[in-house]
Symmetry: C2
Subunit: 228 residues, 2 copies
Amino acid sequence: MSKPAPKAVVLLSGGLDSATALAMAKKQGFQCFALSFDYGQRSLTELNAARRIVEQMGIAEHRVIRLHLEDFGGSALTDHTIDVPDHDTGGIPVTYVPARNTVFLSLALGWAEVLEADAIFIGVNAVDYSGYPDCRPEFIDAFEKMANLATKTGISGQGIKIHTPLMNMTKADIIREGQYLGVSYADTISCYQADDDGRACGVCDSCRLRAQGFKDAGVTDPTHYIKV
Amino acid sequence: MSKPAPKAVVLLSGGLDSATALAMAKKQGFQCFALSFDYGQRSLTELNAARRIVEQMGIAEHRVIRLHLEDFGGSALTDHTIDVPDHDTGGIPVTYVPARNTVFLSLALGWAEVLEADAIFIGVNAVDYSGYPDCRPEFIDAFEKMANLATKTGISGQGIKIHTPLMNMTKADIIREGQYLGVSYADTISCYQADDDGRACGVCDSCRLRAQGFKDAGVTDPTHYIKV
C-alpha cells in the first residue's frame, strides 16, 4: 500500500507568484489545499483569478476567507483614500498591507492544524520583490519557529514546515518554471488596480515587475492591459 | 511639554483575564486600543461583555473584527458538532481553537503597525491555564521575534513588545489585582457556553478555573450561573 500524499496549505492570491508556487507544491507530490483572502482589496478580480487557477490545476479544496483589514487602514491596497503610485517610490511602499503575510500565514496555520497538514506554501520572493519586510527569509524562519511552538502538531513532533520555493528565483526563473509546469499565466492577475474585466494597469510596481519578468524570460506576456 | 502616552493594542475577549490585562495596561500609562474578535464562538455574549468592559473603563477605541474560523472547524468553540466537555479531559482540550492566539496577535500586530503603537497586551497565563500551546512564554517570545522581522516598525528600530502581565499570576492573583484596579467582574464572561443572558454554565473548564480563582482570592464570585 502506498502512503497517502502529504497535505499542504497553499496561499493563493491569484497572482503569478502564488499560482507558480501552487504548481510547484503539486509537482512535489503534495495534496494541495488552496487558501485565498478577501481582505478589502481594491479589486476582487484577483479572487476570480484564484478560482480559475484552482479549476485549471484540478485542486480539490479552495477556501476564501473574508478578512476585514480595511478596518485598520494604512495601505493603498485596502484604504481607498491612498493612491497606488505609478513609479518606484523607494523604501517600503504604501501598497504594503500591515502584517499581511503574518496574518495570512497564521490563518494558513490554523487550517493546516485542522487538516493535519505538515506544510504551508507561500510564494514570497526576495529577489524581484517590492521591499516588504514580511517577504524575507529571516521573517519566514521566525514564523516557522513560532508556528511550531503555537500548535499541537509542533508539540507532538510532526511539525509544520513553511515552504518558499520562489524565495531565491528571479521573476524570469519563476515564469520559466511555471510555463514548464503548465501554469496558465493569462488567468493570473498581478496588478494592484486591475479593472473588473481583469485588465492590468501596466504602470503599478507589480505590473512593472511582471512585464519585465516576461521580457527577461523570453516568454510572450499574456497579460491583458488597460493601456499598452 | 509632556510626551504623548505610548499606544497599546489590547486583545479583549470579554473574559476575566483580558479585562484585567486591559486595566493593567491602562494603569501602566498606555493609551489603549481594544481589539475583539467575532470568530464564530458558540455565544456572542462575550462580545457584549467586551463592549461593557470598554465602556466601564473609558477606553477610547474598540474594534471588533469578524473572523470566519468556523470555516476551518476542529474546535468545540467554533464547530457546533463537537460538545464542550464538562470535566477535565487531560492534554490539549477540544476547546482549543487552531492557531487562535497566533491569528489574534497577527491582527493586533497589523493594527499596532497602523497606529504606530509599540505594545500589544494579551492576557495569557501559564499557571491556571487550560493546556493550550499558544499560552506559553516560549510561544510569546517567538511571536515577538517574528513580529519585529515582519513589520516596518521592527525594521526601523522602535519595535513591538508583546506584554503578558498575567503570565505568572495565579487566577486568584489576577482577581485580586483586577479588584484593586476596579475591574467590574460581574460584566465579564469566562464561560465557553454562556447563554444569551450572559449566564455561565458552571461546569466547563473555564467556569471551574474561574470559580476556584474567586474562592482562592477570598472574593465573592459575582458570576451569574445557569445552575449553581
